[in-house]
């Protein structure tokens, strides 16, 4: 009788093991599938993006006929001041140098405006406002973060561009119906504000209470405490928010392409001039492209990813240096 009992137990254990194995392989399969999508995307972007540098394409020139386009020179690609030198489909002299610098300028300007506003809003929500008002404000910020970027683009085109156009006439400067670096900066400000505010608010709230109480006990006013003690302690958290905001600003395509004017060439520091970012250059003229004009957009994507990686590394480096002074 004992034998039968143990036989049944052994059978049940084996069944459980088999069920475990099956579920394990299902989970593994799902994980593999999702990982394979990322790998697929990276592989496709890498292959198509490196093609203009490695293979020769066939081009067409109305004077000469079919001709072989030379390979794109990587150095010229990242330093050129205009998008394409020559007729479309008949030249491989693409360049994004001006777009890289314009993108960085746009992002720096937008972060410069967004950061103070985001920190103040976060302080307001976390410390200063009464509980119910703070809840309402927090919900508003979360809602702002979930608005699709095309809506921001349409608002930029319909509301912000005319305002910038009248700012232009106020200063006696001609704008292209308001499409300019300034409109781009405003749109990016609206888009990155909720991101940075949310993260800053979380990190401000997680500052240890005894630091605040200690500062107040030393007769510092609440405002002095917030600015000198709380913000300094929450520094690394706020920085993480800045990194997220910069990532979003660098990757924004639709909204920016609607308000920036998509300039064909030129680096500009004049906020009322049209500009173009890497992402808006990728979108421009996408509808009927084939051949090298299509593949070169993947090359721009590679450059964009490189810029994002370098920016992240730089920001993390600064964060480490700055964050050395505090215990977090």
């Amino acid at each position: 009788m004992i034998d039968v009992q143990s036989q049944i137990t052994i059978k049940r254990i084996k069944q459980k093991n088999r069920a475990d194995q099956v579920t394990k392989s299902i989970f593994m399969g799902a994980g593999m599938l999702s990982a394979s999508f990322i790998i697929l995307i990276i592989v496709i972007v890498a292959i198509k993006g490196l093609s203009p540098f490695l293979i020769t394409y066939e081009g067409y020139n109305s004077n000469i006929g079919i001709l072989e386009l030379p390979k794109v020179n990587p150095f010229l690609f990242v330093t050129a001041n205009q998008w394409l030198d020559g007729p479309l489909g008949g030249s491989s002299a693409y360049g994004v140098g001006f777009a890289i610098i314009n993108t960085i300028i746009a992002v720096i300007l937008s972060i410069a405006i967004t950061l103070p506003v985001a920190i103040m809003t976060a302080l307001l929500i976390a410390k200063i406002a009464p509980k119910r008002f703070a809840e309402v404000l927090r919900t508003v910020v979360e809602l702002l973060a979930s608005i699709p970027s095309i809506v921001y683009g349409v608002i930029g085109l319909g509301v912000i561009a005319p305002i910038v156009a009248s700012i232009g006439t106020l200063f006696g400067y001609q704008t292209a119906a308001g499409l300019s670096l300034l409109s781009t900066v405003f749109v990016l400000f609206m888009m990155t504000l909720p991101t940075i505010t949310a993260v800053a608010e979380t990190s401000i709230r997680s500052v240890k209470n005894d630091i605040i109480e200690g500062s107040l006990a030393l007769a510092a006013s609440p405002m002095q405490t917030y600015f000198k003690v709380v913000l300094t302690s929450a520094k690394s958290g706020i920085f993480a928010g800045v990194i997220l905001g910069v990532g979003r600003a660098l990757g924004e395509a639709t909204a920016v392409s609607m308000v920036s004017g998509n300039a064909f060439s030129g680096v500009t520091l004049n906020v009322l001039d049209t500009t173009s970012t890497l992402t808006s250059r990728m979108l421009m003229g996408l509808k009927e492209t084939t051949g090298i004009d299509y593949d070169v957009r993947f090359s721009v994507a590679l450059v964009l990813m490189l810029v994002i990686i370098i920016t992240n590394v730089l920001l993390k480096f600064v964060m480490k240096k700055v964050g050395n002074l505090d215990e977090k």
Partner: protein, 315 residues
């Protein structure tokens, strides 16, 4: 704190009043010393092709780098809104989108941009959409007579009242009074009384004419025995090639029965049956406040190449 709040309110009020007065200021006067803001279509546009050829700047059809620095690339609708808001903008759109209440269409070489002037050939900033048929149907063997009749019936349909109305609907400029009704025309094409669903009518050539062609073909199919239309628009040069040239063979992927071109056929593209389908006109547009009435092709060429960058040259 109060001082900061006060200064903020002051700055906001000033900006808002600037918006209001800035907007009104635009409507009051046109500063003739300001620079020209040049708008163009993008390099894949057929309208750009027609415009640049019409002003003698053909090299700029596909090449953005020889245009004036600072030009803005914008589609039809965006150019329309740009010339309404920016008094110093200049652009070009298709004649079918001209709305003289909202913006101004310039005379081209002294000729007003109207459909009548386009049809009587006095408004020159236009291009003809032409068709071509095969010379040799024998490659189709037993179906040769059928395909020849179907192709000619298609052309006849485009000249009928119903066909002309469809073409006008698709944006082409035609003389609506010149057609006869399809019922009259149909009598010459008994093939349309039969069931043609076994035949595939291949239509190709210019992609600028694609909109017109795809608009007409379902109507034609319904009126002519349900022949199956198949579209392959790859460019004006492929009209001759697919009919009577290097791609005319029956098994060639580019071979067609009816070919369209958004230009005139050259001496290297001879055929027995060719003609005009419709006209596509382009009009140069500016803001209503702009005192300019007429413009010449050479002036446009100088504006778009960057030789002339200031409105003062015209006044």
């Amino acid at each position: 704190m109060k001082k900061i709040a006060l200064t903020l309110v002051l700055v906001l009020t000033l900006t808002l009043s600037a918006c209001v007065t800035g907007g009104e200021g635009n409507n009051d006067s046109f500063d003739e010393t300001s620079s020209i803001k040049v708008y163009t279509r993008d390099t894949s546009s057929g309208t750009r092709d027609g415009f640049m050829s019409g002003i003698g700047f053909k090299a700029a059809t596909k090449d953005d780098s020889i245009l004036v620095p600072g030009f803005i690339t914008a589609g039809n609708a965006e150019q329309v809104s740009a010339v309404q808001t920016d008094p110093y903008a200049i652009g070009y759109v298709s004649l079918s989108t001209l709305n003289t209440q909202l913006f101004k269409g310039l005379y081209f070489d002294g000729v007003a941009p109207t459909e009548a002037n386009v049809l009587n050939d006095s408004y020159k900033l236009s291009r003809n959409f032409n068709y071509m048929l095969r010379d040799d149907y024998s490659v189709y063997g037993a179906d040769a007579a059928a395909y020849e009749a179907l192709s000619k019936a298609f052309i006849a349909y485009m000249g009928s009242t119903e066909g002309l109305a469809s073409i006008a609907q698709a944006g082409g400029i035609v003389d609506l009074s010149s057609g006869q009704s399809w019922d009259t025309v149909k009598a010459q094409f008994p093939i349309c009384e039969q069931d043609n669903s076994a035949y595939t009518l291949k239509i190709g050539g210019s992609d600028s004419v694609e909109k017109i062609a795809t608009e007409i073909s379902p109507d034609f199919s319904a009126k002519c025995g349900n022949v199956v239309p198949q579209h392959n628009h790859t460019g004006s040069s492929n009209a001759y090639k697919g009919l009577n040239g290097s791609n005319a063979a029956i098994d060639d992927a580019l071979s067609i029965h009816v070919g369209f071109a958004s230009r005139e056929f050259t001496a290297q593209e001879p055929a027995l049956v060719t003609g005009r389908v419709a006209v596509d006109a382009i009009v140069v547009i500016v803001h209503l406040e702009n005192p300019l009435i007429s413009i010449t092709p050479s002036a446009l060429r100088r504006i778009y190449s960057g030789e002339v960058t200031n409105w003062s040259v015209f006044f």
